[in-house]
Amino acid sequence: MKRIIYYPGCTLHSTAYEYGNSTEAVLKHLGIEFEEIPDWNCCGAASAKSLNHRLSILLPARNLRNAADLAGDVYVPCAGCYNNLMKAKKAMENEEGREEIEKKLGKFHRIPEVYPLMNLFIDDKVLKKLSENKLNTDVKIACYYGCAFLRPEEILQNENPELPKSIDTILNTLGVHTVEWPLKSFCCGGDLSLASSDIVSVLVEKILIYAIEAGASAIVTACPLCQANLEMRQKTKMPVFYFTEIIGIALGIDENKWWKKHLVDPGNVVSKLKGGR
């Protein structure tokens, strides 16, 4: 169907195992060929940024250089990784920046395009395939995008940061109703966990209250930090899924090992999503 370059980043092989595993299962089922960036490294996460600006560009840039050897565009499931790869790409846009990076990393024969994983699924052909696997359910979902897929917009520009809709489009195509609610792009405070965990709890509770108020019985996101933070800090016990898990359910390839990784038991919502299946 399509061939992509895949950058899982550290999280999808570790804490967000269910995101990584469901992504790979869904891609295989849809016939989308993917190959990991050869010998990829950590994107630098948040730690490199203030510590050493150059390092925070070189780490993701090295991934781009290795990706350049393969054919196709790079798709990134983690919001933080996507953000960092885009920063490196931006840094290479001007002659001077590119020269400096190439001095350290060697010549790039091309600079690959980089997209968030959601974008792969809003491609017309993929959407058509998804629409053949509709779920018969009345469960309502609140799609939550968080910060790092949307902002800063001058670097990312993949969707409207004030009106994101990729995850909604995917779920709607699968026959799942998504709610309109005000906190789609609100920050969950994940980065503040160490400094002020009490504030993080207030932010998470705010997100949960508005999702419930809108009639949702689950949240669906694409960011591993948001997913962990939202499930960990809430009192409400509302499950938070990765969008690839919902696609997995629709395709009939979901696995118990995904649900076991969740901190809030998603069993009830999973069976409702499956309807009579």
């Binding site: 949307l150 800063p152 920050c187 980065d191 400094a195």
Partner: protein, 137 residues
């Protein structure tokens, strides 16, 4: 609070450093308050984002370096997305944090955190916290 405006303060080393680190046109701010309206943690800040901008424009930097607000900013970039004047307000916060860290000020004392707290925090959250700590070098 009465603030006396003078050009010396407006051109102080601090103000210049903030401009150098943030690369923002601080004087374009016209105090519309949209940055504060969108800020998820404004409720908890002692100096909210538009006040912070105003204080930088007045050269009142010490007050900002000792504020709690600079440590509460989550770097979510909402302020920058909403500013009608194209100011990336979060970068000004980041500049203030960097200056404070280099002066030895810090908010999180990592050694005092209990195992329980560290156990509870998502790993990415720990990394983000250390970022602010590590830039002390």
């Amino acid at each position: 609070m009465k603030i006396v405006l003078n050009r010396e303060k407006l051109n102080s080393f601090y103000v210049q450093t903030i401009k150098d680190i943030s690369l923002q046109k601080i004087m374009s701010c016209y105090q519309c308050g949209k940055c504060t309206a969108g800020c998820p943690v404004a409720d908890f800040m002692d100096v909210v984002p538009n006040e912070m901008m105003r204080l930088v424009m007045l050269g009142e930097i010490e007050k900002l370096l000792s504020s709690k607000a600079i440590w509460l900013c989550t770097s979510c970039f909402q302020c920058g997305t909403r500013c009608p004047k194209g100011i990336e307000v979060h970068r000004v916060f980041e500049a203030l944090r960097s200056i404070a860290l280099r002066e030895g000020k810090n908010y999180t004392d990592i050694e005092k955190l209990s195992e329980d707290v560290l156990d509870e925090i998502p790993q990415q959250g720990i990394i983000a916290g250390f970022r602010k700590f590590e830039s002390l070098e």
